[in-house]
């Protein structure tokens, strides 16, 4: 694999290999502490993202490698008008692998077309964020032990949430998965995503405006934030916002082995009172994000 731009650049088998490597890293971190000695990861963040950048850097440092890069466009030559292609040609002279976040959709693909070293898309605008999806998949697999047969609830902003679209796409490749789509009318999953990944492959799904009604069915609950700016008027936002805030009361009917995920950052869509519930996984998910990125870096550098 040369670059990871989209989650579909990976087959389900390759994703399983990454998950297995990540699990081995969790079990035997010392065995991996020098795997990337002498290797350099460049983190090119043309827009700020503390969590993703630190996760990549921590992953490389834990493998014994080193990191360089920038964390916002104004401290890069892009501020002087340099093209993505030229930046990449330059940075690839200094590094063995590049993780790149860019506000413009498709920028990492352009980078991969001009780079002699592997490119990892660390998020391009509202488009793709494959390492978040890998993080979500590792979390689900670690917590449930399998993907098959799970009922996956996705709640909140299903219209604009790129992590939701990618997770639906990735999970739709496993047998007997079922989706429960929980959102206000204004923020329903886009039709093309639903048709391509749910309806056309014939995957069972239900749509609901009520989180509480469907809660007892769920094995996984993937929460996202309902943002004020997504609504046409304030009245609708105020009417709906509390329906999609997860509280201990709403969890009353949930399964004991439900797992709650969130791509973070959280604002108020999960009450802090839920944080101590053993079903809450969103901070473990952050930790898993580092391990799956370690596995990915190893795979892309061809290190066993």
């Amino acid at each position: 694999m040369n670059s990871l731009i989209d989650i579909f650049d990976l087959t389900p088998q390759e994703i399983m290999e990454l998950i297995n490597t990540a699990c081995d890293i969790i079990d035997r971190p010392a065995a991996y502490a020098h795997k990337c000695d002498g290797k350099i990861l460049a983190t090119l963040f043309f827009e700020p993202s503390t969590r993703t950048r630190l996760s990549f850097e921590s992953a490389m440092l834990s493998l014994g490698g080193q990191v360089l890069g920038f964390s916002e466009a104004k401290s890069s030559s892009a501020a002087k008008g340099e093209s993505v292609a030229d930046t990449i040609r330059t940075v690839s002279c200094y590094s063995d692998i590049i993780a790149m976040r860019h506000p413009k959709e498709g920028a990492p693909l352009v980078a991969s077309m001009h780079s002699p070293v592997p490119i990892i898309n660390a998020g391009d605008g509202g488009h793709n964020h494959p390492t978040q999806t890998l993080t979500d998949l590792l979390t689900i697999h670690r917590e449930k032990g399998h993907f098959d047969g799970l009922t996956v609830g996705l709640c909140g902003d299903l219209k604009f949430g790129r992590t939701v679209h990618s997770l639906v796409a990735a999970m739709s490749r496993y047998p007997d998965v079922r989706f429960v789509l929980i959102s206000p009318e204004e923020l329903k999953l886009p039709r093309y995503v639903k048709e391509q990944y749910i309806k056309n492959p014939g995957i069972p799904y239900i749509q609901s405006a009520s989180l509480e009604e469907v809660m007892p069915q769920l094995d996984i609950l993937y929460m996202t934030r309902v943002q004020r700016e997504r609504f046409f008027n304030e009245e609708d936002y105020l009417r709906l916002k509390d329906s999609y805030i997860l509280t201990p009361e709403k969890l009353r009917g949930a399964k004991e082995d439900l797992r709650i995920l969130h791509p973070l950052p959280r604002v108020n869509e999960i009450s802090v009172a839920v944080d101590n519930d053993p079903r809450a996984c969103y901070f473990k998910q952050v930790q898993y994000g580092k391990y799956i990125r370690m596995a990915l870096i190893l795979k892309m550098l061809g290190i066993e």
Binding site: S83, V84, H102, P103, K104, E105, G106, A107, L109, V110, D124, G125, G126, H127, Y192
Partner: protein, 139 residues
């Protein structure tokens, strides 16, 4: 109405009625110095009405582009007054340098020297998507 048969050239046939001027413009036929005939609303058994373009010389044509504009088209190559090649067109898998991505968040909106390229993602609905941002063409 009689248009002379051509000896050496190209006949673009079965153009959906009304699309010939678009094709004329996209293929840059206005820049040719040979005879070019545009026949509009010709009676057709297959289509009811159709347009035809006759070009009185051979030239390189962008098959993908023609297929994109109108996949029902047939192109006939005439040599020595005889039909030498008949080509039926399909929607192309990829189109380069014709469509422009309109998504303001696409990398092509800021790096305008990047080649514009679209891939066919739904043949039935004729959906093309930008290779960079996956936005639907024309949406």
């Amino acid at each position: 109405m009689i248009i002379d048969a051509i000896q050496n050239g190209i006949v673009i046939d079965h153009i959906t009625a009304g699309k010939s001027m678009e094709l004329y413009s996209i293929l840059g036929l206005g820049e040719l110095d040979c005879t070019v005939a545009i026949l509009k609303n010709v009676t057709s058994r297959k289509l009811g009405r159709k347009d035809i373009i006759k070009i009185d010389r051979e030239m390189e044509l962008d098959w993908d582009l023609i297929g994109y504009v109108d996949p029902s088209i047939t192109v006939n190559i005439i040599r020595g007054g005889e039909l030498k090649e008949k080509r039926k067109l399909n929607l192309p898998e990829r189109i380069r340098g014709v469509l422009k991505c309109k998504n303001p968040r696409c990398i092509t909106s800021v790096e305008q020297e990047l080649p514009q390229e679209f891939i066919l993602t739904d043949r039935e609905k004729r959906v093309y998507r930008c290779i960079y941002c996956e936005s639907q063409a024309g949406a």
